[in-house]
Symmetry: C2
Subunit: 318 residues, 2 copies
């Protein structure tokens, strides 16, 4: 019999970081107008979201969907207390983020060599070197922009196949040595299972401690929320999610989106974990996003089945 | 930091019990001919399944879909090593199961008073009394038929709402006192979350020990596999599942089926847990079941997205 509960290490409060505007939209063909993005951000903010990845500073010809990132970021910065982040693939993008005074830059680092070459045309160690240059540039400017490195394909890769946990740990140590503020682990292609999550997060926690701040799970094979639960047990208290579960990875054929914001929030509230989010407002936003993306695949479950009869009372405890 | 891993208590081997022919089909309108059911059972057997719930001894006018249970059971009994079970709602049904020399009877007992009245027209304690009479009848005949009681709506109910864990524990103790062989816990309507599962299974294990043999989770709100993971951590090593995730509960509007057999098997194999099942054969069976049920809703994820590139090698370890 158990001597310790499997639930006592669950955090009491979790941040659901909305990444639909970047990770979601970047692999969606339908162009979402800037006005709709601003409406999305305002509605997410009104639903209680305080961390939103609003876009990416990549060349507009590569990702026309995100070409308006500077404008979207500027709007997000008008909302008090909102921590807007942008994805940045290299020093050039970082310079734009620093000029825009973004509160946070997310730098992707593929643990898969093959994915790194496909995605950034650089080997992982060259990306680590670039991250070092970005950190130096940030400090030289005296900027307050935080740097989080997302270790992508941390659980395997559609191109390369297996990714060794030792390589993930080595890269985490390498980027921490460059002086970044935080790291996160991403199952970019939906290969993780909860046992893998438990084991890899435990190993990386030994190296990174509380600098491991976030889990990023794609729900490609239906294990997204099980994976979140496994990470929660290790005290991870921030998860990326996409409204309507949109998105995927352009270099990962068949990969569906991140866990759906509304499904993740339902699970957390059901477990009595506070998020600060208004569930009904998230559902209303989901409906609007699905309208903007009419014809594109969306995902998620709770919007179809509705909340349990027991839910309202239990969520109030959160 | 952790002093104990969250994966070390996972079982090395798990039984996936197929309940699609009963729990799945009982809420499906399309009548599946007996010949197709026999083909289903044979294919499941060839895929490695050794525990199959083949039907229910209820009056044919109530569930025409399961009117051929005696014939289906007789066929299942010709397959060496297959443990066929039947659902039995009362003493009359139990007498039929005993006459047919079923290896196992599953007796449902709703922890929700309202669900119990709707489903069996008896209060839970009256069902406990009937279970006692069934156990006595089994023993009087010197029959070898095992008796498992499935505590349904153990995590809440669409009719009644909240179900107190104390009531679940009380009913488990009551049926164990009648001398049944095993109990299982069922989230009949998809209200459970992994924290609820962890806590309730832990409490029931304290009362039932290794007589708590199975978890039965509906995936109504997308948490089915997360709930399985939580139960696995407590050493539970048998789960009910429906091929193609079919089914639901006639008294639970909107409830989708059990976790899909093929999705559950994928998660278990990915975690290195042996099931004895041939994944490709399960997928082929899923396709056939979906054909028989053309027009009916089916569920599940892995049949759409395919296995990870890393999967084959890791499954071989199982």
């Amino acid at each position: 019999m158990q001597t310790r509960s499997f639930t006592e290490t669950l955090p009491r409060r979790v941040v659901v970081r909305e990444v639909g505007l970047r990770d979601g939209l970047q692999s969606v063909a339908t162009l979402v107008p800037t006005a709709a993005k601003l409406e999305w951000i305002r509605a997410a903010y009104e639903a209680g979201q305080r961390e939103i990845e609003v876009g990416s500073f990549v060349p507009a010809r590569l990702l026309p969907q995100l070409a308006d990132t500077a404008e979207v970021l500027a709007f997000a910065q008008t909302l008090p207390g909102l921590r807007a982040s942008v994805l940045v693939p290299n020093l050039k993008g970082a310079e734009r983020a620093l000029e825009a005074k973004a509160e946070m830059m997310l730098l992707p680092l593929s643990a898969s060599h093959a994915h790194s070459l496909a995605n950034l045309r650089k080997a992982p160690d060259d990306v680590v070197a670039e991250i070092g240059r970005i950190r130096a540039e940030r400090d030289a400017r005296g900027a307050r922009t935080q740097i989080e490195v997302g270790i992508s394909t941390a659980f395997g890769c559609t191109l390369q196949g297996r990714v060794e946990p030792e390589e993930v740990v080595r890269l985490v140590q390498a980027v921490l040595d460059t002086g970044v503020d935080a790291v996160s682990l991403a199952d970019t292609v939906g290969y993780a299972d909860p046992a893998m999550v438990s084991r890899l997060f435990e190993r990386v926690l030994r190296v990174a401690g509380d600098k491991l701040v976030c889990g990023h799970f794609h729900d490609t094979r239906g294990l997204g929320l099980a994976n979140v639960f496994a990470a929660l047990q290790l005290g991870i208290a921030r998860f990326d999610a996409c409204t309507a579960g949109i998105g995927g990875c352009p270099h990962a054929p068949g990969a569906s989106g991140n866990v759906a914001t509304e499904d993740l929030t339902y699970m957390l509230h059901s477990m009595g974990i506070a998020t600060g989010l208004d569930f009904e407002k998230l559902l209303a936003l989901r409906a609007r996003v699905a309208q903007w993306l009419a014809g594109e695949p969306t995902h998620g479950t709770i919007w179809k089945t509705g909340l349990p009869k027991t839910f309202a009372k239990e969520a109030a405890h959160a």
